[in-house]
C-alpha cells in the first residue's frame, strides 16, 4: 500500500499539486485530442476549416490594407506580412476564447471528479496551438508562391512561439477563472477578440505607428508578440522596436504569473460556484 498521506484542509496549498499535475499529464493530451476529434466530426471538409478561415481573413486584410489603404509592406509581399501576424493573433484569440469557455463547458467533470483544474484551460490552449501549427502550412505555401526565403532569424521563431503561448495561457487562465464566477465575461470574451484585432498590428506593420506612441502601443502585449513573429519570419528590413518589445514581454510574464496564482487561488471553489 502507498504510504503517502494526503491532508485536506481549508485554504491549504497542496504540496502535491504540481506532482498531481504531472501525474495527470496524459489528461492534457486526451482532452485536447477529444476537442480536436469532436470539432470536425460530422463536418464535410473537416480539417480544411483550419486552413480556410485564416486564408480568407488574410485575403480580406490584404485587399483592405494593401490595395485600398495602400499601407507600406516593409519590402516583403503583403500577404506574407499579414500572415506572419495573423498566425500568432489567431492562436491567441482562439486560445483566449477557448480557455475562457473551457471550464464552463466541462462543468460536469469539475463538479464530479477531482483532477488539477489547470488541465482544462491548458488543453484548450493546446487545441488552439494545433490549429496554429496547421495554419502554419499556409505561411509555408505563401513563401513558396512568392519565392520568399527567410534568413537566419527564422531559427529564433520557437522563442516567439513560446512567448505567444505564455500570453495565451496567462490571459486564458484569467478569463477561465473569472468566467466561472462572473458569467459577464462570457460577453467580454468576443468583445476582446474583436477589438483586439484592430488594436493589434495584424493587418498593418507596427512601423506605421508614430515613434512617440510606440511605447504606449506596446502596452498591448500582442504587439510585442506579433512584432517578434514578423522580425523572425520576414527578416531583412523588419526592425524590432526593443523598448516596446521588452515592455510587452514583461506584461506577458505578469499576466502569466498572476493568471496562474489567481487560478490556483480560486480553483478550489470552482465546484461550488460553477
Amino acid at each position: 500500500m502507498r504510504t503517502d498521506e494526503l491532508i485536506i484542509e481549508a485554504g491549504r496549498a497542496e504540496r502535491h499539486y504540481w506532482k498531481d499535475l504531472w501525474r495527470y499529464r496524459e489528461l492534457f493530451y486526451f482532452l485536447a485530442w477529444r476537442d480536436i476529434l469532436v470539432r470536425y466530426k460530422q463536418t464535410v471538409i473537416g480539417l480544411a476549416w483550419a486552413l480556410i478561415r485564416p486564408f480568407v481573413t488574410m485575403v480580406v486584410f490584404v485587399v483592405v490594407f494593401s490595395k485600398l489603404a495602400k499601407l507600406p509592406s516593409e519590402g516583403v509581399p503583403y500577404p506574407i506580412l499579414v500572415f506572419a501576424a495573423l498566425l500568432p493573433w489567431q492562436f491567441f484569440s482562439s486560445a483566449f476564447s477557448g480557455a475562457g469557455d473551457s471550464l464552463i463547458s466541462n462543468a460536469g467533470m469539475i463538479s464530479k471528479v477531482y483532477f488539477p483544474r489547470l488541465v482544462i484551460p491548458t488543453s484548450a490552449v493546446i487545441v488552439s496551438f494545433v490549429d496554429f501549427l496547421i495554419s502554419g502550412i499556409i505561411l509555408v505555401g505563401l513563401m513558396l508562391w512568392y519565392g520568399f526565403a527567410p534568413d537566419w532569424r527564422i531559427v529564433t521563431l520557437p522563442l516567439f512561439i513560446i512567448i505567444a503561448f505564455a500570453a495565451a495561457m496567462g490571459a486564458g487562465l484569467w478569463i477561465a477563472a473569472l468566467n466561472v464566477k462572473f458569467r459577464d465575461f462570457r460577453y467580454i470574451i468576443p468583445f476582446v477578440v474583436q477589438f483586439g484585432l484592430y488594436v493589434s498590428p495584424v493587418g498593418f506593420s507596427s512601423a506605421i505607428i508614430p515613434e512617440q506612441w510606440r511605447l504606449l502601443y506596446s502596452l498591448n502585449p500582442m504587439v510585442g508578440v506579433i512584432d517578434g513573429f514578423r522580425w523572425a519570419i520576414l527578416g531583412g528590413n523588419s526592425q524590432l522596436y526593443l523598448p516596446g518589445f521588452l515592455l510587452s514581454l514583461f506584461l506577458v510574464l505578469v499576466i502569466l504569473v498572476t493568471g496562474i496564482v489567481y487560478f490556483r487561488k480560486t480553483e478550489k471553489t470552482f465546484a461550488d460556484v460553477i
Binding site: 500500500m1 485536506i8 496524459e26 486526451f30 471528479v113
Partner: protein, 429 residues
C-alpha cells in the same frame, strides 16, 4: 493500525443567495453591492457592518469527526440534504472544507456519477480512454484493462460506434465498467445504482463487494437500504450535517434512518376520535397494523416480518350478514385484493360477539414488494348495504414495506412488480 481516513472537526459552509436563481455571481451585483457598502460605510462611520439579507449561510456539514479503517465498507445514509454528497465531495477533493481536516492514505477514486466526461460524439473505444484518463488512470493502465472493461460492459460490437447512438443501458454499463476497474485504495461511490437495469445493478453490487473483499476501503452512499445492508460492514447516518449514528451494526443504523424518516407520523394505525363512523351494527375503534402480540408497529416494516391487520370494534348488533374486512391498494391506487372475515368455509368463520371485539388477519411475510400500500376498512351487510364502502371516506392506514426482501445474495435491490414473493425452486426428477 492507523485509520485510512481520519476526519477531524470537518465543516462545510455554503452561502445561498435568496434572490438569484443562478449560483454564479454577476459582476454587476458585485459592483453594485460594493458601491452600496461603500456609501453605507461613508454614512454610518462607525456602525457595525450590516448583514446581507440576500445571503444565508448553510452548513452542509457541521463539525464531524470519524475514522475509517482499511478494508472497511461503510454505507452512508441520510435524507436528501443531510450532507452525504458534500462529505464525499470533500473526501474526493472536488471541493474544499470550510474548516477541519481530513487525512487520507492512498489513492481515492470517486464514482460520484458514472460517465463523467463521456463525450457523445466519441466512440466507445475513445470514451474508455478519455474517461479513464479523467478518473486518473494512465494510458498503460487503461490498455492493460481495456478488454476486461469491454467484456464487463458487454459492448464489444459497438466499440466503434459513437456513444450518442448507444442505448442508455449500454451507456451506463460502459461508464461503470471504466470506473469499476480503477483499483484505488479507497473507492467512493454515490448512488450509481440509481441507473441501469436490475441485471446490471446486480453486477455492480457484485463488483463492489469484490473490491471490498480485496482489502480496499469503500464508502458507499445510497438510498437503497437493501444494498447498504448487504454490502456494508458499518453504516453512518447523517442528519442535517451531523453524524447521528455510526456503528458496525448496519441494520440498527438503517432502522434508525427509516424510523426517523417518518418519525412522528405513525401511519400504521387509525384511531377513532370519538363518535365517528357509528352505525347500528358496529363502531370501529382502532384499525392498525400489529405484530403477532397485537402491539402496533411503527412504519416501515421489513418484508421478512409477519404482520397482522387488526381491527378493534364495538359490536352493538349481531347480524349473520355482517361482513368486515379490508381492501388494499398500491400507492398509485390500484386495488390488490379485498379480504373479509367470511372468505373461508362457513365453519371456519370467526364468531363475533357483542361488545368490544378484536378481529385480525395475517399478511404473510414476503408477499408484497417494497413500497407503500393503503389499507381501507371495509364493512357491510352481505347483499344489503355498505357500511364502509371502498373509495368513500372510510378509515384507512398506510403500510410501508422497506428492506428484508430476501435472504439471497442475488436479490438485494427492489425488483419491479407489485408482489415479491420469495418462492422455492427445485430440480424436477
Amino acid at each position: 493500525m492507523s485509520p485510512v481516513i481520519a476526519v477531524e472537526n470537518l465543516s462545510k459552509k455554503y452561502v445561498i443567495g435568496h434572490q438569484k436563481q443562478e449560483r454564479y455571481t454577476a459582476l454587476r451585483d458585485v459592483l453594485a453591492n460594493g458601491a452600496k457598502r461603500f456609501t453605507y460605510k461613508l454614512i454610518h462611520h462607525f456602525a457595525a457592518p450590516e448583514n446581507d439579507p440576500t445571503h444565508e449561510e448553510f452548513w452542509a456539514l457541521k463539525d464531524i469527526s470519524f475514522d475509517i479503517q482499511q478494508g472497511d465498507r461503510v454505507g452512508i445514509i441520510g435524507r436528501n440534504g443531510a450532507g452525504k454528497s458534500t462529505l464525499l465531495k470533500i473526501l474526493s477533493r472536488i471541493t474544499e472544507p470550510t474548516t477541519g481536516k481530513v487525512k487520507i492514505k492512498g489513492r481515492v477514486a470517486s464514482l460520484l456519477e458514472v460517465g463523467t466526461g463521456f463525450h457523445p460524439e466519441l466512440t466507445g473505444r475513445e470514451n474508455i480512454f478519455l474517461n479513464g484518463a479523467i478518473l486518473g488512470m494512465s494510458n498503460a493502465e487503461i490498455r492493460k484493462k481495456f478488454d476486461e472493461m469491454v467484456a464487463f460492459a458487454e459492448v464489444e460490437k459497438f466499440l466503434d460506434t459513437p456513444v450518442k447512438r448507444y442505448s442508455s443501458g449500454m451507456y451506463v454499463r460502459l461508464a461503470f465498467a471504466v470506473a469499476a476497474h480503477l483499483e484505488p485504495e479507497i473507492l467512493v461511490v454515490d448512488e450509481v445504482l440509481a441507473v441501469g437495469d436490475a441485471e446490471f445493478q446486480k453486477k455492480c453490487l457484485g463488483k463492489m463487494s469484490e473490491v471490498g473483499s480485496e482489502g480496499r476501503t469503500v464508502l458507499f452512499v445510497s438510498h437503497n437500504m437493501n444494498a447498504i445492508e448487504q454490502l456494508c460492514k458499518a453504516a453512518m447516518l447523517l442528519d442535517r450535517g451531523e453524524i447521528r449514528h455510526f456503528s458496525a451494526d448496519v441494520r440498527e443504523v438503517v432502522k434508525e434512518y427509516l424510523f426517523g424518516t417518518h418519525g412522528g407520523r405513525t401511519v400504521g394505525h387509525w384511531l377513532n376520535s370519538g363518535g365517528e363512523f357509528s352505525n347500528p351494527w358496529f363502531k370501529p375503534l382502532k384499525f392498525q397494523i400489529t405484530d403477532e402480540q397485537g402491539n402496533g408497529i411503527v412504519m416501515p416494516v421489513r418484508n421478512d416480518q409477519e404482520i397482522w391487520v387488526t381491527l378493534e370494534a364495538e359490536i352493538t348488533e349481531l347480524d349473520p350478514a355482517l361482513t368486515i374486512g379490508y381492501a388494499i391498494y398500491t400507492d398509485d391506487g390500484t386495488p390488490l385484493y379485498w379480504s373479509y372475515q367470511t372468505d373461508e368455509a362457513e365453519h371456519k368463520w370467526p364468531r363475533l360477539e357483542k361488545g368490544t371485539c378484536t378481529l385480525r388477519s395475517k399478511i404473510p411475510s414476503r408477499l408484497f414488494n417494497e413500497g407503500d400500500y393503503r389499507l381501507e376498512l371495509l364493512g357491510g351487510l352481505h347483499y344489503r348495504e355498505w357500511l364502509f364502502e371502498p373509495g368513500k371516506s372510510v378509515p384507512s392506514i398506510t403500510l410501508q414495506i422497506r428492506g428484508g426482501l430476501s435472504d439471497s445474495p442475488y436479490w438485494m435491490v427492489r425488483r419491479p412488480g407489485i408482489l415479491a414473493p420469495a418462492l422455492g425452486w427445485e430440480v424436477a426428477r
